[in-house]
Symmetry: C2
């Protein structure tokens, strides 16, 4: 109906695609179909946890979640990322895929898994050496040995280099003495700390040398026992963080250390060590680079959270879409029957671009996951350094966009389900409360985008990568600004863009809106232009001899904007490449559907920032309006297959709950 | 510092204003300072409810909230809107002000007050006559008689005219027989229904006449006893809605009626009655107009919810602003000290435009509240009809913008407080969960904006106001489109705009960005242009003989956009007028501060929609960019007085909670 009327007379007739849902699911699941199937089965088996989250008190729910995590571990689901000799699956990509899929279910279970196997287990695996692996991995993979990841402090979250906890080497006893100095440096919000962890991986400022001449070597990680048989050990003080907005099945807590002594081999010593005599040694000379190398091994956490945000969005969109083809409201097209919500143009506008963006982010996540798998499966190699840096930028960016997308999507879907969406018996209450912290944990999204921008501004040159934030500002503003501007100058840029789209200076006026090269060229132009703008602004501020902090503060929104533009370009590239390189056996209807989704993502992304494109001469008024019309047209075309598109994500029906919404 | 550097050489030197906080509070509180003081005192006295919301189970918390509501009622706080002869305060404006102020505290208490005194009490007062007032008002004002407002059904929320509950008049016994036909027409989400209400005001389709020739007279309201001494009465079935995302101190439930009989005088008969012999009588002939007149008397609920959303935003912004001048993160301007969050440009961008918009909405709410007070305090009069319609539009629009603002602001503030903001011990968890439903209850925001647009398209002509939605589409498209286009034609419009700003066709290029007449002219232009665009699109669709429903669906996003533009213009007008007409005794610093806030609101509003202004020839690229620069500059100017600006709202310190955030 609506679709038919959208076709102007004379236009080539549009044929609505038939979607082959199982084939589309297979394409989305990719090489991880098997592990995803296992997780879906486990989720369905433990579906009662969704009710228990409402019904049990906080203490009981925490125990229930712990039990489920241990039982799921027994199926092999949670240990995919560990070496086979310790009972793991030896497949890092599969471990991410498993984690992402778990986001269809209760998110306390997800986060508990992330804390135990990703953060705690990941730190032992990545920062430790064989002695730590032998001592802990086997038991932590089964979930018998629970641990926590004690990095964040009350006074320091994103700025890890400034942590206040201190680990002093005592040469007399060959021990490290771990101390908390004041409440600002207590560990805080630490998952597993309040109840279940027996060990903590503690990040602390390492100090070596005699008291008279003590040197600080920066932040390092130590394995510290904090609890035995449920009893907190001497010298350790733990306080429960109490109820949270969501994720109340995870026992977050605060930890203080009062001169707690651990043996010398408690230092996770892959990148640095202290000799028995108290001499500090590291294979990485530059302290900043050492710090970022250690932190870089933990990038998996960000990749996991980004993927979880994307999959949590799928749950919300599945419910809201099914509701919108069932719920009628007001007589609009007929006197006798009310109209389905999804037949309203506004409702299509609310849901379909979000579905398209979810597909786009899904394929972008595929790229990050693959890159992570490749980097961490390979033997360490200098040549990999650049890839590793690129991965860190991509992981940070995808995490930021994926988790903001979750917050926005879940809210929009809740509102699109009206008052019914407000009842706890549906998924929205828990989804919204549980995912809320995704935008700030594993790195605050704004800070992460600054990290992305830093990589871009310094062109991932490894010698500049090791700078802290203030160093970066000074570096960019004082030294390299010329290079950056050169690299991204409007002239060179236009050359590059023209190569992509032959057609002279008017390329953007002549290309078809549905030409993916046009869409990509637009996002590339925006990225490069914003980046060079940031560099120019930084330079101008420094030329005026202003305080670097003030300069940075003034330009910060441009920094964030440039990083966002960069990540959106990566996301579109991932989607376009996926659609272009579809295997031969993909059914035609699925090809058409994915093409429509890719166009809708690209054009709604350009539309959302059309003011910028007009301000920078890349959109005329007429063309800007025609993009909005095209977005509307794409929404109408996708409306009849909307349910197929959400079904293809394969959210287990038990996880939809929402009996009153989807009946 | 940042402020100083923002002043270009040669510009007139900007002097930072000193804010007189108590004087600003007095200005904001206006003539309701006394009742607001009472509510603030009561909130502080019951501050423990914020803890109890976390600590008590749902059942206990519901009882606690009921007790608090009854105790607050005893102070006179909740009864301001009822006539003095029934124990009320006889001041409708004060009753709204009291309710708004209550939004600083626990929102279950607020909503329970709204259900009992606003919805239930308001229906008895506005739809009933003296016999109902005498029977119920005295007891409900004290809270001894609890009631509920049974309008919404599972199958029908926004479309009240299509409710399924039926009330049939039985002439033999002179009773109405109330019946629920199927689960879609059960009453649902009804506050006070699950536990506390003894009476329900039930909205049902009234049927009169012999069974062979029964006439349906549309939706009417009846007083129906549902519970006595805590026991549900025969023929009534009640089911608990159970836990919700938030507001768990309110007992929402579902109600089914199985041929429940109530006497003839149970009909709330201010606008229509049934004679003992079963003849239907009404002073309003047109059934649609009768329906909208009845509903119109309940507009107070929307005004209350809008005001509550605005005040809940103040709580979140107060916490986030105080945190941002305390929390340091990263060394940016110094090697030795980390920088305060609020000294970052991005952080200023996140919080200060929201503070400005909150001020704007506060003053817009003053206008709605005053209009409501005047309309409802006057004796009914035909001349008031147009004002009443205008009030309905303004109330609907302010409710939509105020509650969306709350959702957006609370989320932004939570993220701006990082992981600490996620703990339940702070206010964000409850604020976010409790306010979430504000966007959908008392009218879904999208539906409300359609209502606003309908009023604009039909120019509030009362004869057209009585149309339902489908009727409106047909009306606008078939009959009146010429008139609307004429009224809003580009030609006439520009004439009007030029009158405001002498300066020829280039008025918008020549005016200063900080000229409030320029800012207003921009928002007026947008509104009129969008409105005529909607009318033209509707007409074109009808000229092409398309189905009206399809036409409406296609144009729906423009309808919502036009309504939003209208309401934002009203909000800016309210702010500009407030600033222009400040009393002589307002300290100079406060004048300057309010002027900066008004400019920031106006320019950030234009900036947010700058794509539209460029598309419609009202912003050049250069001017668009200079607006963004000016917004940044205004943020820097407001940064040093940000804490004063939030302190002036007078959120009681006990309501901020957040010990870890604001110390």
């Amino acid at each position: 109906m609506a679709t038919d009327t959208a076709v102007p007379a004379g236009a080539p007739r549009y044929v609505q695609p038939d979607v082959d849902v199982p084939a589309l699911t297979a394409l989305l699941d990719g090489r991880f179909a098997e592990i995803r199937h296992l997780v879906r089965t486990n989720l369905a088996a433990y579906a009662s946890v969704l009710d228990e989250a409402d019904e049990l008190g906080m203490d009981d729910f925490r125990e229930r979640v712990r039990d489920i995590v241990v039982e799921m571990a027994a199926t092999g689901q949670t240990g995919m990322g560990f070496p086979e000799e310790y009972g793991g699956g030896g497949d890092i990509g599969a471990s991410i895929a498993a984690f992402e899929t778990l986001a269809f279910g209760d998110l306390s279970v997800l986060v508990k898994v992330g804390v135990q196997f990703g953060l705690f287990g990941g730190a032992i695996l990545q920062l430790g050496t064989k002695r730590h692996h032998d001592a802990y991995l086997q038991d932590l993979v089964t979930g018998q040995l629970m641990g926590c990841f004690a990095m964040t402090e009350t006074g320091h979250g994103s700025n890890v280099q400034a942590l206040g906890t201190v680990a002093t080497y005592d040469v007399a006893t060959q021990e490290f003495v771990i101390s908390t100095h004041g409440d600002e440096s207590r560990k805080d919000y630490i998952g597993n700390a309040a109840k279940h962890a027996e060990l903590a991986v503690v990040f602390a400022q390492l100090e070596v040398g005699p008291e008279s001449d003590r040197a600080s070597e920066g932040v390092h990680a130590f394995v510290v026992p904090i609890r035995k048989a449920g009893k907190v050990l001497d010298g350790v003080r733990i306080e429960d963080d109490g109820r949270k907005m969501g994720l109340n099945g995870v026992d977050n807590g605060r930890i203080w250390f009062d001169e707690v002594r651990v043996p010398r081999d408690a230092l996770l010593n892959r990148f640095a060590d202290v000799t028995p005599a108290g001499v500090y040694e590291s294979s990485i000379d530059n302290p900043n680079r050492r710090f970022f190398t250690m932190l870089g091994t933990l990038v998996q956490g960000r990749v996991c959270v980004g993927g979880a945000g994307i999959n949590a969005s799928k749950v919300a969109l599945t419910i809201a879409t099914k509701y919108a083809v069932r719920r009628r409201q007001f007589e609009a097209a007929s006197d006798t029957e009310e109209q389905l919500l999804l037949d309203y143009g506004m409702h299509q506008r609310r849901l379909l671009p979000l579905i398209a963006r979810t597909y786009a982010l899904h394929f972008a996540q595929d790229v990050v996951r693959t890159q992570l798998h490749d980097v961490f499966s390979a033997t360490p190699d200098a040549a990999l350094e650049a890839t590793r840096r690129e991965l860190e930028g991509r992981a940070a960016g995808t995490k930021a966009l994926g988790t903001w997308h979750a917050t926005r999507t879940i809210q929009e879907c809740r509102e699109a389900c009206g008052g019914a969406g407000y009842l706890a018996v549906n998924r929205f209450a828990a989804l919204k409360a549980d995912t809320d912290v995704f935008t700030t944990f594993e790195g605050d999204n704004h800070v992460l985008l600054q990290l992305v921008a830093k990589g871009l501004l310094t062109d991932y040159a490894s010698e500049f990568e090791d700078l802290d934030q203030l160093g970066m500002v000074r570096f960019v503003t004082n030294l390299a600004v010329g290079t950056v501007i050169e690299r991204t100058s409007a002239h060179k840029l236009l050359e590059r863009v023209k190569d992509l789209l032959p057609g002279g200076d008017e390329w953007d006026q002549e290309a078809g809106l549905l030409d993916s090269e046009y869409q990509l060229a637009m996002l590339r132009f925006r990225e490069e232009h914003m980046l060079s703008g940031v560099a120019r602004r930084l330079k101008r501020g420094m030329d005026q001899k202003l305080n670097p902090g003030v300069v940075f503060s003034d330009v910060q929104d441009h920094v964030i904007g440039a990083a966002n533009a960069h990540v959106e370009r990566l996301v579109l590239e991932a989607f376009v490449e996926k659609v272009r390189d579809l295997p031969a056996d993909v059914p035609e209807g699925n090809r058409v559907a994915l093409g429509l989704l890719c166009d809708l993502f690209a054009l709604s992304t350009i539309e959302a920032d059309r003011a910028w494109f007009m301000e920078h001469g890349r959109l005329t008024v007429q063309r800007s309006k025609s993009i909005s019309r095209e977005v509307n047209g794409l929404c109408r075309k996708l409306r009849p297959i909307a349910v197929d598109l959400v079904d293809a994500w394969g959210v287990p029906v038990e996880m939809l709950r929402a009996p009153d919404l989807i009946g």
